[in-house]
């Protein structure tokens, strides 16, 4: 190596390290500052999510006599009533989610096609039920649907039916009441995602020879799937843990998971068994979410990353 190039190397090397330590220290200081700003939030997450779930899990591992055992989990396999409750819960969740999609998709589509002003007025009607308590709305449905309720009285007065329809205190009542409460959770994310579909994409579809129906099928519907998926997941997960409406509208015949937990803890004071129910519900929900993400993820990521 010649002297000239050596000194050149030296010069460029020195250029490269000017203030390097100070800049590194500055970067570290910034990360520490950021972490300090983040820490209240992290603490809250730890205190109200991580700790209670850990505690729940811990509780579920002890039987009534305080001995460490798997008895609470064994019950899921050998007690028929547990299995029945489990099946009922999923039956209700699937039916309600299905009903929400059937009612909510056309509604969200209509909202997305309305002029902005009209859409925001209609949205108020979608959100309005949120401002009333679930309890009040459920009792209202009970009044409307019971044996001598509005619907049955009208239908009988009109001579459509001779016997009152069994609309309350059974599976149908639970589904009607829960669908009403869950609908906005499906419509709002779906509407938001439909609003982001480029109108020019639909125009392009028609321009390229697709009829309006074909344009909807091949372009609008696939592009609305991510929104539908998020609405679907929210509704389904909320259904799995729902308590008030099935407790009131089911008439004691429709026992869902959350009701079982309530019975176990308040009636039998068996905290271990109740905690095990909670852990299983959480695990099943997470597994379903994971499955859903995996199923839709590959198809939807392209659309999501596009935005």
């Amino acid at each position: 190596m010649s002297l000239a190039s050596a000194s050149l190397d030296h010069a460029s090397h020195r250029d490269g390290v000017i203030n390097a330590d100070a800049l590194r220290a500055d970067a570290r200081r910034e990360s520490r500052g950021m972490f300090a700003l983040l820490s209240p939030g992290l603490f809250l997450v730890f205190a109200v999510i991580i700790v209670p779930i850990g505690w729940l899990f811990w509780l579920s591992l002890f039987d009534e006599s305080g001995q460490l055992s798997a008895a609470n989990y064994a019950r899921f396999f050998d007690q028929a009533s547990y299995i029945k409750t489990f099946v009922t819960t999923f039956k209700v969740a699937f039916t309600v989610t299905g009903a929400c999609v059937l009612l909510g998709y056309p509604l969200a589509y209509m909202l997305s096609q309305l002029p902005r002003r009209a859409a925001s007025i209609c949205l108020i009607f979608v959100i309005l039920p949120f401002w009333t308590s679930v309890l009040v709305r459920t009792y209202a449905w009970l009044v409307i649907l019971q044996r001598k309720g509005l619907v049955n009285t009208w239908l009988m007065d009109l001579g459509v039916i001779s016997q009152p329809l069994p609309l309350a205190n059974n599976f149908a009542g639970v589904v009607i009441g829960m669908t009403h409460i869950m609908l906005p959770f499906l419509v709002l994310p779906l509407y938001a995602s439909m609003k982001t579909i480029d109108a020019d994409c639909l125009r392009a579809g028609m321009n390229l020879g697709a009829s309006p129906a074909a344009t909807f099928r091949q372009i609008f519907f696939p592009l609305s799937l991510p929104g539908l998926a998020s609405g679907l997941v929210i509704v389904f997960v909320l259904c799995l843990g729902f308590f008030v409406t099935p407790a009131l509208m089911g008439g004691g015949k429709v026992i869902m998971w959350a009701m079982r937990m309530e019975q176990t803890t308040s009636l039998y004071s068996n905290w271990g068994a109740g905690a095990a129910l909670g852990v299983v519900l959480l695990a099943v929900t997470l597994a379903l979410l994971g499955l859903f993400h995996w199923l839709l993820g590959t198809r939807a990521t392209g659309v999501w990353s596009e935005r």
Partner: protein, 362 residues
């Protein structure tokens, strides 16, 4: 054989188009003929109605009145999916849930073209827009220029008789835009499809078009070839919108035209009596050294305001005797540079008789 649009290119006859949104008139009694295989540009500022006209042609907007004939067939009430018109959208409107191949195959799929032929035609279209081998790419993996090409391929793969383009290059950066202008023009020359192109960029319009229709407030101000439009604008709006213009007020009386007390030498006949504006392009003005020079030159005494050197050319801002500012532009030749005037210096500007263009003073 590449795509064979030339044989099927059709003329468009647009007549009496009216479009109102409520009380606001967007297009009024607009008529326009596009020849088969012609590249016609609708040029105008935003709000001039050019995009609305394109939307009416594509069938996305319903006119209040008028007729659109493609090859003699009336299409004004035909739904968009039956019109067989290709369109390139401003934001490309590619389908984000389909890859490049399926985007381009979309119009063929609607027409129930067999799979083997579809694959072959998509391949040819990709080749035509220089995207060979990118069929499997997702749309969000493409650059702006590549998306533009996919949109173009999709609009021509089904061999439409007419192609519409709505400011297709406006989202690209300057150098890519200029490159695509040339490419689009060459593609049009090869395929010969009747093309209606919308832009607000006058340079783009001049570069690409066979003819340009300059639109303003829902009307066509002038429709001509680019060079005619530039050299002989018929209205003040056209003169101002295409290229730079200085307007010098003149008066026509007794069969001749006067600028203050000087009679203008001009090749055209004098217009009707009254006030008019002389359109003076900065590059048509020149510095006249000898004020006694006569012949076919009009002389305008002025005072130099500022001289700006721009490398290949220079710009001289001067004030006429009536206080009006005019701009002169010339190339930086050594002889001119040697005699550049200084600010504040009195000069004489010359404009040749053949370059005198008058428009009505609105």
């Amino acid at each position: 054989m590449l795509l064979s649009l030339a044989q099927s290119a059709l003329p468009i006859g647009i007549s009496g188009i009216e479009k109102r949104f409520g009380a606001v008139s967007i297009l009024s009694d607009l008529s326009l003929d596009v020849a088969a295989g012609e590249f016609l540009t609708l040029l105008g500022p935003s709000g001039s109605g050019k995009t609305t006209l394109l939307m009416i042609l594509a069938g996305f907007v319903r006119a209040n009145a008028g007729s659109i004939k493609v090859g003699g067939e009336e299409i004004i009430t035909m739904p968009p999916h039956k019109r067989n018109i290709g369109m390139v959208f401003q934001n490309y409107a590619l389908f984000p849930h389909m890859n490049v191949f399926h985007n381009i195959a979309f119009p063929l799929k609607q027409r129930r073209v067999p799979a083997a032929e579809t694959a072959e035609r998509v391949e040819r279209a990709l080749d035509l827009v220089q995207l060979k081998g990118l069929g499997e790419r997702r749309v969000d993996q493409l650059s702006g220029g590549q998306r533009q090409r996919v949109a173009l391929a999709r609009a021509i793969v089904f061999e439409p008789r007419i192609v519409l383009m709505d400011e297709p290059l406006s989202a690209l950066d300057k150098s890519l835009r200029e490159h695509m202008q040339i490419e689009l023009r060459n593609l049009h020359r090869r395929l010969g499809m009747t093309t209606v192109y919308v832009t607000h960029d006058q340079r783009e319009a001049i570069t690409m078009s066979d003819r340009i229709a300059v639109m303003n407030a829902g009307r066509i101000e002038q429709i001509d070839q680019p060079e005619v439009l530039y050299a002989r604008p018929r209205t003040k709006f056209v003169a101002g919108f295409i290229g730079e213009s200085n307007f010098v007020p003149v008066e026509s009386r007794n069969g001749s035209v006067w600028y203050e007390d000087r009679k203008l030498r001009m090749n055209d006949a004098a217009p009707s009596s009254g006030r008019h504006l002389m359109v003076v392009r900065p590059e048509k003005l020149r510095l006249v050294a000898d004020a006694d020079e006569t012949g076919g030159v009009n002389l305008l005494p002025a005072t130099v305001g500022d001289v700006i050197y721009q490398g290949d050319s220079f710009v001289c801002y001067a004030t006429l005797k009536d206080g009006r500012q005019v701009t002169l532009r010339d190339y930086c030749r050594p002889d001119v540079l040697a005699k550049l005037p200084a600010p504040g210096e009195p000069i004489t500007l010359g404009i040749d008789a053949q370059d005198v263009v008058l428009v009505a003073d609105q």
